[in-house]
Symmetry: C2
Subunit: 146 residues, 2 copies
Amino acid sequence: MRAVKKASFPTPEDAEAAFYEAIERGDIDALMEVWSDDDEILCVHPGGERLTGVEQVRESWAQILRSGRALKVHLADQVVVQGMMLSIHSLHENILVQGESRARAPVVVTNVYQRGTTGWRMVVHHASPAPQPAGAHVDPPAKTLH
Amino acid sequence: MRAVKKASFPTPEDAEAAFYEAIERGDIDALMEVWSDDDEILCVHPGGERLTGVEQVRESWAQILRSGRALKVHLADQVVVQGMMLSIHSLHENILVQGESRARAPVVVTNVYQRGTTGWRMVVHHASPAPQPAGAHVDPPAKTLH
C-alpha cells in the first residue's frame, strides 16, 4: 500500500525529474505526488482545455497513461526563472511513443513549481504544440512489405 | 521622445492591465515596457515557437500589432498563484479583431510576472489555442451577397 505524499523534492529540479520519470513509468500515483495538493493547480495538455484542481488533473493524466504504450520524453532547451517560492521551467518535450519510429512533434512547456512544507511541488504544467524546427528531418512514408 | 522604462507597476495586476491595454492600443513601446529587460524572457504565441530575449519578443509583437487592425481582448477565468518575487496568472483571452463579427477561438494563457527594482515586469507569456467551450454558439457560414 502506498503512503500518501511520501516523496520529498528538495529542489524544483528534483520535482521535474520525478515528474518525467513517472510519465515514462506510466505511474499515475508517482506523477500525482509531484503535483501540489492545492486546489488551484493548473494543467493544459497540447490543444486541450485548461484543467484545475487535483481531480481534473489526475483524471487527464490517468487517461494518457492508461493507453499502456510506454513514452520516452527527451527534454531540451531548458530555461529557468528561479524565485524564492516559485520556480518557472520552460522547455521542449520530444516524445517518443512505443511502437512509433519517430518522435512526435515537439511540445513547448511551461512548468511552475512552488516551495512548500514538503519541498517543491508542481502547480502549473502548460503544454502546447510547437512548430517543427526548421530543417527538421522528415522521413519518407514507410514502405509496406507486401 | 519616449523615455526608456518610465512606467512602474506596483503590482502584477498593474503590469497585466498595462500589457493588455498596450495590445488594444497597438502600442509596441508601451507593451515592451511591461516586459522585463532580462535576456531570459520567454514568449510563446498560439502555435508558435518559443521566443527568448527582448529582441525576438519585441519583433514578434511588432508583427502582430503592425497589421493596424484594432484588437479587443476580453479576459476570463483568471487564476493567480502569488509568490514573493514571482506571480503566475492563468487566464483565457477572447480576442475580437476589428472588422470581424465574432471573437476568435479562445486562447489559454500563462503569464508570469517578476518583482524587480522598478516594480513587477512580465517574464513569461505562454499562449496556446484552447478548444471552443462546449455548447459554444457557432454561426452558419456567412451567405454571400451575389
